[in-house]
């Protein structure tokens, strides 16, 4: 009953996803004066409401691309657009969930979730949205707890609620499940899919787990080694909920691992 009400609450606020255009983006880091290229001429066009997984060897520059999409960094060349508008700085319509929950340890769970609304100066009139987001991730009972009292999975759920309370048009997930144990991970994958289906936001997920990408996403984009280039753009045309044992997915997985140079082991 409470959950249903919470869901209704969130749905009324939900905005459909935004389109994302990444056009010929290249980026490099300056390390001790030397330039280290990390992204090389990456172009990706994401439809509103798509769930796109970015897959690649670790350290290839996927997370850098996410930071560019979030507006935390500016690309050396190329442009990024959200619904035709150029991305130049962070905006709450594009929220990131990082690999570490990075909850603020001095704030309670409720205050952590309220962070975005508070920063935008609309918390006073929108307090119910915080409660709704906490209900949505099933942590209403922990609203007064401090982050150090939470388990890893709970902390990551709070981080998810903190993102969702802003009704993002693009949800950016930077290996959010990477540090969780495998059971919690499977549960949260299912939760992610159902949240995405209900709210319709565009999702970008960085992962290095091919299976996770195939269970969650409509589209899997495979990157090369650094500097990252788009190596393959694979459509995953299967209904949800998906089965890990699905032969179609197993076949795609073999292809993807081949692209990543791991075909010998599988």
């Amino acid at each position: 009953m409470v959950a249903a009400a919470a869901l209704a609450e969130v749905v009324t606020h939900s905005a459909a996803g935004a389109a994302l255009d990444i056009e010929q983006v290249s980026h490099a880091f300056d390390i001790d004066g030397a330039e280290l290229p990390v992204l090389s001429d990456v172009s990706i066009s994401v439809e509103p409401g798509e769930f796109v997984a970015l897959l690649g060897p670790s350290g290839c520059g996927k997370s850098t691309l996410l930071r560019l999409v979030a507006g935390l960094d500016k690309p050396k060349s190329g442009t990024l657009r959200e619904d035709e508008a150029r991305i130049t700085r962070p905006h709450p319509s594009r929220v990131v969930v990082f690999q570490d929950p990075t909850l603020f340890p001095w704030r309670t769970v409720w205050d952590n979730v309220a962070l975005g609304l508070e920063a935008q100066g609309i918390l006073k009139s929108q307090r119910h949205r915080v409660d709704a987001a906490l209900d949505l991730v099933g942590l209403s009972d922990f609203r007064t707890a401090y982050p150090h009292q939470l388990s890893g999975g709970m902390a990551q759920r709070v981080a998810l609620a903190r993102a969702l309370v802003n009704d993002p048009k693009i949800l950016i997930l930077d290996e959010p499940l990477g540090k969780l144990d495998s059971l919690t991970r499977i549960t949260m994958q299912a939760e992610l899919v159902s949240l995405w289906q209900r709210k319709g936001f565009t999702t970008l997920l960085v992962t290095h787990d091919a299976e996770e990408a195939l269970v969650l996403a409509n589209r899997v984009i495979v990157f090369s080694d650094r500097p990252a280039r788009v190596k393959a753009d694979i459509r995953v045309d299967r209904p949800y909920p998906r089965h890990r044992g699905d032969p179609y997915l197993a076949d795609l997985r073999r292809q993807i691992l081949g692209l990543l140079g791991l075909d010998a082991t599988w």
């Binding site: 507006g71 594009r94 929220v95 340890p105 001095w106 962070l115 975005g116 508070e118 401090y146 802003n166």
Partner: protein, 340 residues
């Protein structure tokens, strides 16, 4: 042999063991309390039994007071079942009461009764009591003056230090100008400024306030700065993607994250400002506990010095207790903080 003695022990030992634990328990629970009572009776007797070697007016009252403490310890221990939490507190402190009673007895005997320790450098307890009763107005004035001076200087120093620390930690431009000045002036002991401060400032009170603020400000600045500088970039990234403006990043991210460091600075600043306070009062200001100490020394009034030292220690300890309780309230989110 062994089997025989075993069965013998079982047969005859049973009734004895059933009574012994009751007595043993009573001794374990109340023994120290009774001992504390004896220690304080001994102190009372040591006051009244022998004649004083000097002329002190509070010897008799002190003896009576010691007997009262002894009586409280005794009744608190014996009547533990009816007194609840008060007697539990007493039981916890009973070992300290024993030690204190023994120490006071020794002190009394070694000074007032047999003068083993040379007078007047080692005054007996009753002469310190005498200071508290007969010289109270002057002592209270001194306490008030010290607290006023310390509080003013400390609050100014802590505020300025905190604001400076946040500014250096946050802004590169401010850091460029303030950091060298801080490096040049900060490590200098604030007391080194004393001679200059006392003739450049309009009053010795303002000079001392400045010095105390300086002693407080340096550690608070450095630790606030390091606190702000060490805040993880991930916190800023999260806040920025959620729509935070720079003012939000300073007030709601940098400062709360730096607070544990700030409190270390406030603690260190408190310690070094006490030192400056006492020196400033001894040298320039004509009021306060430091001045009282100096004045007492001039008159060879050693009892007054000890009395003032005890008050000073209580005040400093109280100030630190206050600081720690404020910290515990503000930093409830931290785990494993030191209990003061």
């Amino acid at each position: 042999m062994s089997t025989y003695s075993l069965s013998d022990g079982l047969a005859s030992g049973a009734p004895r063991t059933s009574r012994a634990p009751v007595f043993a328990n009573w001794v374990r629970e109340s023994g120290v309390g009774i001992l504390a009572s004896f220690a304080w009776i001994a102190f009372g007797l040591s006051c009244l039994w022998w004649e004083d070697v000097g002329d002190w007016s509070r010897t008799h009252s002190l003896g009576i007071a010691a007997f009262i403490v002894a009586a409280i310890a005794l009744f608190g221990t014996v009547g533990a079942d009816y007194l609840g939490s008060a007697s539990r507190a007493l039981r916890q402190r009973a070992p300290w009461l024993v030690a204190l009673g023994a120490f006071l007895t020794l002190w009394e005997v070694a000074t007032a009764k047999f003068a083993w320790l040379p007078l007047p450098f080692f005054p007996p307890p009753q002469s310190i009591i005498e200071v508290y009763t007969d010289d109270l107005p002057k002592l209270l004035d001194s306490v008030f003056a010290s607290v006023k001076l310390q509080l003013g200087g400390y609050l100014i120093g802590a505020t300025v230090g905190f604001l400076t620390g946040v500014s250096i930690g946050w802004s590169r431009g401010v850091g460029y100008w303030v950091h060298p000045v801080l490096r040049f002036i900060g490590p200098l002991p604030a007391t080194a400024w004393l001679p200059i401060a006392f003739f450049t400032f309009p009053s010795s009170w303002s000079a001392s306030t400045f010095l105390i603020a300086l002693a407080t400000g340096f550690p608070v600045t450095v630790l606030t700065w390091s606190g702000v500088a060490s805040v993880s970039n991930a916190y800023y990234d999260v806040a920025r993607t959620l729509g935070a403006k720079p003012s939000f990043l300073v007030l709601k991210v940098a400062i709360p994250a730096a607070l544990p460091h700030v409190f270390v600075g406030l603690f260190m600043g408190l310690g070094s400002s006490f030192a400056v306070l006492v020196v400033a009062e001894m040298i320039g200001v004509k009021a306060g506990l430091g001045w009282y100490l100096q004045w007492a020394q001039g008159w060879a009034a050693y009892a007054n010095m000890y009395a003032a030292l005890i008050v000073m220690s209580l005040l400093c300890s109280g100030a630190i207790t206050l600081l720690f309780s404020i910290r515990d309230r503000l930093l409830v989110w931290q785990k494993g903080t030191v209990k003061w």
